[in-house]
Subunit: 318 residues, 4 copies
């Protein structure tokens, strides 16, 4: 029996249970009541989608606490055939956990993923003075290792959901240094149908610059600026073949069904030797950008009608 | 019997016989053997075309010696419904003529159109020292006035063809200060069919800037620069309603059937509240611009195919 | 006795008395009570300034009715060593004059400079139906010719001041087709001292494009756009050596003593093989452009102080 | 006795002995024979410099295998008062090490820093099939942990220099997936004297965009493009206050003593509310960019002389 015969309804996520990625997956309506599959890294999650083992995967794409950004961006550039179909925001919030019976004043060593450690460093400096840091491979691993027979640390930095899954005591909550920090997750799918335009959409692309000359990046970005399109994320990633060569991961305001976005993508494609369309999807924050009349769908349609009339020899009504 | 029933085969030109415009009309193959109609100014010539009295009109558009440039550009902006369908270059060459029996040393006063006078001023200063200038309304009028009963001048500056039509003596030839000067003429027509693309074409437009802010003109010109399109003529003309408001008469390399030109026109139309397509037509000089692969028709077609595949949900082949 | 020993206090203008240029000269405070010298064309006026025969000259530079624009712009490009030191606006207003005893209904032929004729054409069509046009070399010449023994025309189009100097009857006033038309005049001088900055200033330059490649003009204009400097006049003039080569006459908002203008001029000079500074001078209309903080003098001074500190090895205070 | 009385001659580096950073420090001539101090992270290294405990520190800035890039870039943005004074390239080359007596076929689990693991993943997949990965906090920690009484892994991925310091067997050499990979290190110092211009220099800055509007990034990058300055590194880093706000870490070709670079920095400072000059220093690769005449020092000096003459009232020699 093939994948096609019985398409998977499983969703992959960077596990184990209790991670921020699991928290993001809880926000995906379509995934409710379906099987969830915990994987070890972004590459595995995307592979699940590409092979059809899963119908979708949730991966961190920006400002991640699970090592997300670069790994995700590079994986999306490397693995073709997936599309972003949704976006989800999860507040970055940490608790300090320990085995039951441990007091905050007992803590000498803290186990934490390096990124989580960096994001709670101020609080730990102030409240667990003189502590040592044991790096963990993930936030959940740090917490569960406390339950080992010979734990390497006295406490761990972990996501708030950790106590749903593991019998640990919370020594302190909301210990993140930046209360407004969030992580942005995306739902990727092999399904190539583009989500409908909502008016509050994002489009993500990966673009490689055509050559190294002064102004190449300016030329590329003007494809957006000259169509009144704002950028959210702009992230440069080394292509990897040599120092100084980059690809850019870019989030645009708008949907590929918006005329101005489609036109910018055409310009981008002509400009760049390699451009990858990652998807158009509703924004998690629901923000609807103002679009000036000049860049509205109507302006594009009107201009096309005007030109069509000219080319077919109708009198110029203007 | 209406115009439509018996379409005119007449060509209008700024006359009378002997003008540079007549010399340009001689270059129009289609006009050979057809009736030619001499008119007094560019407005009349365009009116002939608009009303159908003539099938075409030849008018000077750039670097004219007959007062052409501004008058033509303003007339083309004002009078809708005409198209440029051809371009012709005529060398600017002058002779000094007089009644038979007049020697160069006899000449005290020279009759000349102000523009022709300006273009022969150095020669006249050097060879007709101390002469006075009588302004004429046209080059031919200057010459024919010599045959009046009481001529106002001893000699006249005129186009070389003048002696084909009038019994005058040539006192000196090639008296223009700039041996390489040419005037560019265009053939305008009410026929809206666009001449076929030859690979050595020009496209002419008139564009009004949308508003007065720093950079509006840059934004407009980037419509061409970002598509690799060179400009020939760029002429600013006051719109006339107040100081500091301009429209621009622009010649582009390429044909509206070139993808990059069509795309630039679309961008222009969206950008500007008023843009007038004057026509695409073969260049008189036969120059074929090099077009980089990025701006070739193939690049446009390829990009459209790529985007179409994305939007219809086909996998991204890239 | 040399020019230097007894500097001239004369002002030259395009005469004769009664022209719009004379009306502009009346607006020049410094010229009150000084000798005025009537000349025949812009070249003569500039020559008077260059040779020291006059201390200043008033010439039409934009939207002229005396054949001004192109001639002035080309003369300024050709004749070095003069500076624009003031700007004056004169409404374009015409009267129809005739010999005493002539009624409007008697008028069959109208003598008028071609530009003046064009600007009164609608009125004349409506009110002097079927009239003939005799072109004149100047507005005043048209009027004074009416007093010849055998006048060539019945009436003339002339500036309102004409009746101050000549005994003519006004058949109709305010016959210009555009009631808001004005002509812009400039006062040029050999004096190279730049008028003080007033906050409502203009700077005029002439720039030749460095080469013919797509985007050269955009690159040039960005020198202004990237410094928040608006353009008033932008006029392209053929350089004259071949078709398609232009110089640009440009008016900028601001004074060379404004940091942003000085910086733009530096950029322009590096960019272009030929740039001519025509002058900075108070605007006739007194308009004071808003300058965003980013382009204020303070921003320039602060940036220089910042860079100076860096280069001299002071710690970066930022 | 204060720091000032006896300035430190120590160099800090991300230790312990055997790291790539130590390999980079070996390339620093001035550090030869001076005390070297091993620290745990980039923050500590910069603190050493700021407090004067060390005279310099070597830190990875791009394509790092020790977790460098983001951490370094963010630290440089956060910690003022340090300057980059040198650049060093170290090939990214790995060995697989184990305790003596271990054969490659014995290896079941591999200890490796996550970045090092990612860079040797292909080799390990092919040659140590079915292995498990134990993440380590550093490359050297992975290797030294093999010597623990109860090692967590059978082998470790480490830099080639590791066997200089630790008694381990090399199971395989050059196991990196990308043979041409290098890491770029910089030497930072509190010494504010800028290294002399060599003609093959880099300048590093950190710039925050002034506001979120379409084209802000284009406007910023045009500060370089309009001065013919190429960019090497362009890295966007979240400012951290909210999603979608970035600062950019930028390497420019050229030295602050190059006129075009100084001018671009002035433009940048006026443009951006926050720009940090990190330093100008000789390039490790010795590359000397071609600079067109338009952007040469001579062009800047000539333009300044020209403008100075204009402003001081000298005649325009042009």
């Amino acid at each position: 029996m093939t994948d096609r015969a019985t398409p998977s309804d499983t969703y992959s996520y960077l596990g184990p249970a209790g991670t921020f990625t699991e928290a993001a997956l809880k926000l995906v309506d379509a995934a409710a009541g379906k099987p969830w599959r915990s994987v070890n890294n972004v590459g595995e999650a995307l592979d699940d989608v590409v092979t059809g083992r899963s119908v979708g995967a949730v991966i961190a794409i920006e400002n991640s606490v699970d090592g997300g950004v670069s790994a995700t961006q590079d994986a999306l550039a490397r693995i073709p055939g997936v599309r972003i179909v949704g976006e989800y925001l999860v507040p970055v919030d940490f608790v300090l956990v320990a085995r039951h019976g441990t007091a905050l004043s007992d803590v000498r060593t803290v186990n934490a993923h390096p990124v989580a450690y960096a994001q709670t460093h101020k609080w730990l400096e102030a409240n667990v003075r003189g502590h040592g840091h044991i790096p963990a491979s993930s936030n959940v691993a740090a917490a569960t290792a406390l339950l080992d027979e010979h734990p390497v640390a006295d406490a761990a930095v972990a996501p708030p959901g950790i106590t749903d899954h593991h019998d640990l005591a919370v020594l302190a909550s909301s210990i993140g240094d930046n209360a407004s920090a969030v992580t942005r997750f995306v739902l990727v799918s092999r399904t190539l149908a583009i989500p409908e335009r909502t008016g509050a959409d994002k489009t993500s692309v990966i673009v490689e610059l055509p050559s190294e000359h002064p102004g190449a990046l300016v030329d590329m970005l003007e494809q957006f600026a000259t169509r009144g399109i704002n950028m959210g994320l702009l992230s440069s990633r080394p292509i990897g073949d040599e120092l100084g060569r980059y690809r850019f991961v870019i989030d645009l305001d708008g949907h590929v069904h918006d005329e101005r976005v489609a036109d910018a993508l055409l310009g981008l494609r002509r400009f760049s030797p390699r451009v990858t369309f990652l998807g158009s999807y509703p924004r998690a924050d629901g923000f609807r950008p103002e679009v000036s009349a000049r860049y509205s769908d109507e302006a594009f349609v009107e201009a096309r009608d005007w030109l069509r009339a000219i080319v077919s020899g109708e009198p110029d009504a203007d």
